[in-house]
């Protein structure tokens, strides 16, 4: 944690209210996000219990599995979820703009520009908490290898239509989260804790109710008190005043309310199945419906606070102006969405269970690039973030006190002017063996300079290296003037991608050689059914 974040937390502790960590919003927010609040069944991995989902905060759709161990009911839940989520994801697919992408020409091996479609916007998915993101990933994993009756007429337990497709989309969204700065799938707790510091630990910040209490406490109450109530307050029946934002439920709720309701549902179902004549069947159907309604009401009461909290979090974050470079990163999210749309349309198989050696290395490389990009962009967008970098000596603000023209000693001299600046910051320049480079923003790009020497305490000389045009004299406006105030960073503003990795079929012997090509697309089969899978 940077010093300035520590300070903000200390100030939050003292004042009882969260302190801002940012002056701009560092994540793009869609005008029409799809919010999903999932609940899972305790002790039953991957058995959804219920969810609230929708784009209208006043009218969420409640989906419930009244008996989570019943696979048919689970499938029905997932089919309903697909029915809600997929149309939203699809609604962005056909609104495209022309764009260019660099591709390798398979014949010449050269990099060429290819005209492609890019979706103008992309659907955004919001969940309450980080474990919600993990749950999205788990749902994706559990669905994408399922086969529908249409795909495989011999499948013993065919999945309803669309379930594999929803699994592929949720997998894509779950995987995209791992790219730093990506905003296709966001969680409310991360959004809030990126922009505010509370007076509690970052572990406690994972509780959406408590986090929101610090940032936006009820009138006349301190954040700390409100957070404590949100975390531990219980009503007369021993139920939490602020139920957890899922996917895990509170054990007290499970034991005291949910388990009896599910038992009642089971009994009603058994009675209905055992009904002997039309009249009693009608009555028992009514009992079954009532039992199901009871489960729905219980889950709705658990889910609604998290639903409203998630929307409230969006309101708070949305109130901050979006950082200019967050929009640039959203374009990358649009590329990601468009790319997956294209793969689905091309009929490609679902994402593999495990990445290949080359696939994993590519992902890691691109995420490292994105991480460096995110750190640079957030600092450039936001003086408060830049202040943290200045405190660690990775950036410094300065005033230009002298400019001296100079050129390279080559056949065609190019400008290398010396700029003397005064700074009150303590940049980590020199001392090591290597030449230190610094960067500043210029005309939407950046200009680099190298550190020459310290002239006196707080006064240093830099030599400009580029972005001064091709002529012998620097282009106007490219060299700072005396009196200019400039923020230099020791980190580059733009990131270069790494070297190209081999194609998967050329995986070298050190990494196990090329992956085996499975016959009959065996790699996309669902997990084999074991006796444990059946009740």
């Amino acid at each position: 944690m940077s010093l300035i974040n520590t300070l903000a937390r200390l100030e939050a502790t003292r004042s009882g209210h969260a302190q801002p960590l940012a002056t701009t919003r560092h994540r793009h927010l869609s005008d029409r996000p799809l919010v999903l609040v999932p609940l899972t069944t305790a002790g039953e991995a991957g058995a959804p219990l219920g969810a609230l989902v929708g784009t209208d905060r006043e009218a969420p759709r409640l989906l419930v599995v009244p008996q989570p161990r019943d696979r048919d009911l689970r499938f029905a839940f997932l089919a309903d979820l697909a029915e809600t989520v997929l149309p939203h994801l699809d609604s962005y697919a056909d609104d495209t703009e022309p764009a260019e992408r660099n591709e390798t020409d398979p014949e010449t091996g050269k990099r060429v520009k290819v005209e492609v479609e890019l979706c103008r916007d992309a659907p955004q998915l919001i969940v309450p908490s980080r474990s919600g993101i993990d749950y999205v990933r788990l749902l994706g994993r559990s669905m994408r290898f399922r086969r529908t009756a249409e795909q495989d007429p011999d499948a013993p337990y065919p999945a309803p239509p669309h379930i594999p497709l929803l699994g592929r989309w949720l997998t894509h969204y779950g995987e995209r989260v791992r790219t730093p700065g990506a905003a296709l799938l966001l969680c409310a707790t991360d959004l809030l804790s990126r922009h505010w510091a509370t007076g509690q630990s970052s572990l406690e910040d994972l509780h959406l109710g408590a986090l929101l209490a610090w940032i936006d406490p009820p009138e006349g109450e301190s954040g700390a008190e409100a957070a404590r109530r949100a975390e531990t307050g219980r009503d007369a029946r021993g139920q939490l005043l602020c139920p957890p934002a899922g996917p895990a439920t509170d054990p007290a709720f499970d034991n005291a309310l949910l388990a009896p309701a599910i038992d009642a549902y089971d009994l009603a179902r058994k009675n209905f199945a055992g009904a002997e004549d039309g009249g009693s069947a009608d009555a028992r159907l009514g009992e079954l419906a009532a039992a199901e309604r009871h489960v729905r009401d219980l889950l709705s009461a658990q889910l609604l606070p998290a639903w409203h909290a998630t929307w409230r979090a969006l309101d708070l974050v949305r109130a901050l102006p979006e950082g200019p470079r967050a929009a640039e990163r959203w374009t990358r999210d649009r590329w990601s969405y468009t790319g997956h749309r294209d793969r689905v349309r091309a009929g490609e198989p679902p994402q593999p269970r495990r990445d290949s050696a080359v696939g994993a290395a590519q992902k890691l490389a691109s995420r490292e690039t994105e991480q460096a990009r995110l750190e640079a962009q957030e600092a450039l967008d936001d003086p408060l973030v830049m202040a943290a970098r200045r405190l660690t000596g990775e950036a410094f603000t300065s005033e230009v006190t002298g400019v001296e023209p100079a050129w390279t000693e080559t056949k065609r001299p190019t400008p290398r002017p010396l700029v003397t600046v005064r700074t009150a910051d303590l940049p980590q320049l020199g001392g090591g063996d290597e030449q230190v480079k610094v960067y500043r923003s210029l005309d939407g790009g950046s200009q680099s300079a190298e550190f020459v020497r310290w002239e006196a305490a707080g006064v240093l000389t830099l030599r400009l290296l580029n972005a001064m045009g091709r002529a012998k004299d620097p282009a106007p406006g490219t060299v700072p003037e005396v009196g200019d105030r400039i923020c230099w960073t020791l980190f580059p503003h733009e990131q270069r991608g790494g070297a190209k990795l081999p194609d998967p079929e050329d995986t070298p012997w050190t990494h196990g050689g090329p992956p085996a090509v499975d016959g009959d697309d065996a790699h996309e089969r669902p997990d084999p059914i074991t006796p444990d899978d059946l009740l």
Partner: protein, 452 residues
């Protein structure tokens, strides 16, 4: 349990090392395997081995590429090759940035330098960094490669260069810092080709039959340091020092003034280790008192006219600034130490983080303990390799500056990293290694309350 060979009476370090080297060269030149792995403890002659293997391969007429991890390592190898065999044509592939290689290479006529691999075609030995090699495409593969510091190379960077060679010698120190990534890579933990793991772990996971060798003797570490480093960091692959207790001596012309810095210097000169312990306190990373104490120790080291006697020459060599290094865990600590040294008028002492001191050697090192003054012990600060690097750079003595209370801190922070399926658990873990180093250092403790 059989006694490790290093403890055998009558152990002849020179002969043992020569036997190990001969085995390695035999497997490299005449072996049938595509790879040979060599584990080398600190200062065991890794670079010497790389140079020797390169020369033998070149003289056998086998074109060779050498992959190192940093430009400084590549330049160092080029200079060593040139020193051993001045008539051997050597290619130095470098980046296209400004000032890409050591200027000393310009004085060597047999070294051709280029940013394009095609310009260096036909040269017996071509050296570059892994990052630069990754950009080389469309060339005939080399028959042989030597990968230096292979334990510090990441699996994905081996993936990018492995198609450039047919067989390879991988040399490295398993006890030093593992490679790291700036983003989480837990997703791939346990996969044989986890891209964030070290190149050697991926290589061996896929090719378990490859011959593995070990250099048994550290020529750098003195007799006072080898047992501690070996026990704390290499408990299952012990090594010993090439020199005996009488072969190295550190003495000072100016007698001790009785101050704590002088006393800890004398303790370290006598025993090889010194711990300057400041009172317990939670401090920021750049603890001003600890940094100040460290600077004073360095100042006194240089002022007291130190002389280092070793097996290298019959006469003692003066302990000058370039023979002293300061090691820290963080870059801001290094910057703070540099500033403090500059304020005391000390120049020419290398001050850097553990990462950057890897592979370097000094007569005396002064180390700011990674856990000094911390309220917590994170995985970063507990990493075995970090402490191992800091405790194994010296030929004569190592002085550690630390706040009291680290033992208690360790006890309050047992390792809590989740165990990942399929990942080989590293022994010893940093917690254990830290405890054993501290227990040893405690015997060489000098307490100091600055300002008194």
């Amino acid at each position: 349990m059989t006694r490790p060979p290093a403890d055998r009476p009558g152990f002849d370090p020179g002969a043992e090392a020569a036997r190990a080297t001969a085995g390695i060269l035999h497997d490299t030149l005449h072996g049938t395997h595509r790879g040979v792995v060599v584990d080398s403890p600190p200062g065991a002659g890794k670079s010497t081995l790389v140079v020797r293997a390169a020369l033998e391969l070149a003289s056998a007429g086998r074109p060779l590429m050498v992959v190192a991890q940093t430009n400084a390592q590549v330049d160092d190898l080029v200079l060593r090759l040139a020193e051993k065999q001045p008539d051997l044509p050597v290619g130095r592939l470098h980046s296209s940035e400004s000032d890409p290689y050591d200027k000393a290479l310009d004085d060597l006529p047999q070294v051709r330098k280029s940013a394009k691999a095609a310009d260096l075609a036909g040269i017996d030995v071509v050296l570059s960094t892994a990052a630069k090699w990754a950009h080389v495409k469309g060339v005939e593969p080399w028959r042989h490669a030597i990968v230096d510091e292979a334990y510090q190379m990441r699996s994905d960077s081996l993936l990018a260069v492995a198609s450039l060679f047919e067989q390879a010698l991988f040399v490295g120190d398993p006890g030093q810092l593992d490679p790291f990534s700036i983003v989480g890579a837990d997703q791939w933990a346990g996969l044989s080709y986890d891209p964030s793991a070290s190149a050697v772990s991926t290589l061996l996971a896929h090719n378990p039959q490859l011959p593995q060798h070990r250099l048994p003797v550290s020529w750098r570490l003195p007799a006072s340091a080898a047992p501690l480093v070996s026990d704390a960091f290499y408990p299952y692959t012990p090594f010993r020092s090439g020199t005996g207790p009488e072969d190295r001596r550190l003495s000072f012309g100016v007698p001790s003034s009785g101050s704590a810095p002088d006393r800890v210097i004398d303790e370290a000169a006598e025993s090889g280790w010194g711990l300057l312990e400041l009172p317990a306190r939670h401090t920021p990373r750049t603890d001003p008192e600890a940094v100040g104490a460290l600077a004073q120790v360095v100042r006194r080291l240089l002022d007291r006219g130190g002389a280092a006697l070793s097996e290298r020459s019959p006469d003692p060599t003066p302990l000058t600034a370039d023979r002293v290094a300061v090691g820290t865990a963080h870059r801001d600590q290094a910057a703070a130490v540099r500033a403090a040294l500059a304020a005391l008028g000390v120049t020419g002492v290398a001050v850097d983080t553990a990462n950057r001191l890897q592979g370097r050697e000094f007569d005396v090192t002064v180390v700011l303990h990674p856990l000094s003054g911390r309220p917590d012990a994170t995985a970063f600060h507990l990493e075995t390799g970090r402490l191992c690097v800091l405790a194994s750079r010296h030929r004569h003595a190592c002085i550690v500056i630390c706040r009291e209370g680290v033992t208690g801190l360790l006890d309050e922070h047992p390792s809590t990293e989740p165990v990942q399926l399929g990942v080989t658990v590293k022994f010893p873990d940093g917690w254990e290694a830290n405890h054993s180093v501290l227990a040893h250092l405690a015997e060489h403790r000098v307490r100091w309350v600055p300002g008194r």
